[in-house]
Symmetry: C2
Subunit: 333 residues, 2 copies
């Protein structure tokens, strides 16, 4: 039952026959305590099932040991993995993580989420919301709480860690060109995502650098459904031999559309994705894609935030390299 008040430092002190300060010193390892005294205190702690009151501690120290994460209310593989990466790193460092989700990535909801977290007295905030709007929203945020972003754009006003989108997209495009295609089509993500921009830019510049014609961009919204629609649209396209799809989910939809319209992959068309979701190796056919180490991103993000909390100014951009994973969808015909 609830209602049995918790033991306090004073209760422990009384039972151990010492002052509450001595108990505090034992608990926190601050200051010297005789071994015998320490043992007595610990016995009392054990007996009373004492647990420090974090509110009282926070009140006097000004530190809560809490971090806030603003997360997209989504189960997209990337954001979800990043969240766990951050949580793991934070927990190892003794921080707890409070999560607030936003359904729409507009300025108001981000600001609300941050405000909510500040009211919770978090020591620092990570924003996972890789939209253009997010970057802009962050530019207007009050700066009295350390803030870092993940997956953000190059002009973000806060430190950012992310997988190197440009590099990944360049690699996959070059991989396709190296297979002998005259050009590579692109199914992009939503225009307001920063990752979309990076991937699209890399694709475009890589084509240009190789003297290839740059086809019009087909745009999706990351969902398989939109990939499917893009696939139906591209199916009628003459001269289509290679497609770089901006994420694996859309690539799945596109593969489905191609299959329905009698286009064989990889025989007729090569297809590559981005993300390397765990399922990508079991698509039909298994998908060539770009692997992102989201856990590492989470780790670095936490590290940057920790630096900020400690009062240092970390580097502003911290890129994790991407890895090209070649599978059958760009395999021998």
């Amino acid at each position: 039952m609830t209602g049995v008040r918790h033991a306090s430092l004073t209760d422990v002190a009384e039972l151990a026959g010492v002052s509450h300060m001595t108990v505090s010193r034992v608990i926190n390892g601050t200051g010297p305590v005789r071994a015998e005294t320490r043992a007595r205190v610990l016995a009392a702690v054990e007996k009373l099932d004492y647990r420090p009151n974090s509110a009282a501690r926070a009140l006097v120290t000004g530190k809560t040991g809490n971090l806030g994460v603003v997360a997209l209310d989504s189960t997209l593989y990337g954001p979800a993995s990043t969240l766990y990466g951050i949580e793991n790193a934070a927990r190892e460092a003794g921080y707890s993580v409070t999560i607030t989700s936003v359904s729409a990535p507009n300025r108001t909801s981000i600001a609300d989420a941050i405000e909510t977290l500040r009211r919770q007295a978090v020591e620092g905030i990570v924003v996972i919301a890789p939209h253009v709007a997010t970057g802009k929203a962050l530019a207007h945020m009050p700066s009295d709480v350390p803030l870092v972003a993940v997956g953000g754009g190059e002009h973000a006003p806060v430190p950012v860690s992310a997988v190197d989108q440009y590099d990944g997209a360049r690699r996959v495009t070059e991989h396709l060109l190296a297979l002998g295609h005259r050009t590579v089509w692109h199914v992009a993500g939503p225009a307001d995502w920063l990752e979309t921009r990076d991937r699209e830019l890399a694709w475009r510049e890589t084509l240009e650098r190789h003297g290839a014609k740059v086809p019009r961009v087909v745009r999706g919204d990351w969902s398989s459904r939109s990939g499917y629609e893009a696939g139906r649209e591209l199916a009628g396209q003459k001269g289509l031999t290679a497609v770089f799809v901006a994420n694996d989910q859309m690539a799945l939809g596109l593969l489905r559309a191609f299959s329905e319209t009698g286009i064989a992959v990889p025989k007729d068309v090569h297809v590559a994705g981005f993300d390397d979701v765990p399922e990508a190796a079991y698509f039909s056919p298994p998908l060539t894609t770009v692997r992102q180490d989201f856990i590492e991103v989470g780790r670095r993000t936490f590290r940057q935030l920790a630096e900020r909390i400690a009062g240092r100014q970390p580097q502003v951009r911290d890129l994790v390299p991407a890895e090209l994973i070649v599978r059958e969808s760009t395999g021998p015909r």
Copy 2:
């Protein structure tokens, strides 16, 4: 910069020329305050950018407004969605959510996670970890903090909300039998998951009730890879015409294996999954599966926890119905 101390109630009071209690009353809406006074106080609040100190408040009220969620360190669609469902419901009710992930669902790590959360002074805890071991672990947990589980088993010692696994599996099995199959094979999940047990039991009992022979169970681990292996294994099986796979990821792997071994779905074999991940409609072929409303599960889970926190004893098991989604993988041949 950090370092500019936050304004306190007293600061606001001074600026507004009232006592700190009056400010407190304005902030919390407790007790009567003259309209003119309130306005003056609010102006001071605004001017000083005052934000209540949650630690001080928690210290004196004994309420932190914090809930803890023990989550599987996984990006599985179900657990991730449930997390967001809980977070949404909690936020609407004014609670914040602290998340702690566990990588292995054994008793020790669950106990550690709960201990961590208790140290954070959460008012209640939700455990998302639908393993047999979890249920057992919870049986031994100290009961002085309200605790509910999600996706748990029927013998769990705490309130539980979940999608009705049994019902969903029964429906999908009956759907397959109704298509004229003499029996239905089953690729099950890991034996230590509660959901695995429910789905498997429903499948078995449904077959028996219809007088169908019960084939041996092939077991996977939820991953596409394991589904693929199950598919390779089943491909050689004589008389195989229908397979119920315990989740969509494994079904994807199985479809891949069937495709490689020349088995046509749905022409030669019917396949159904479970979960209705957003991609399931774009598998090859689109997958018949069972939809689970994880958001609703999250909502109900929060509601149960709120009841517990309020000191009431909610019903012990709260089941959300499952929905059968029929697609081409069990379609006309």
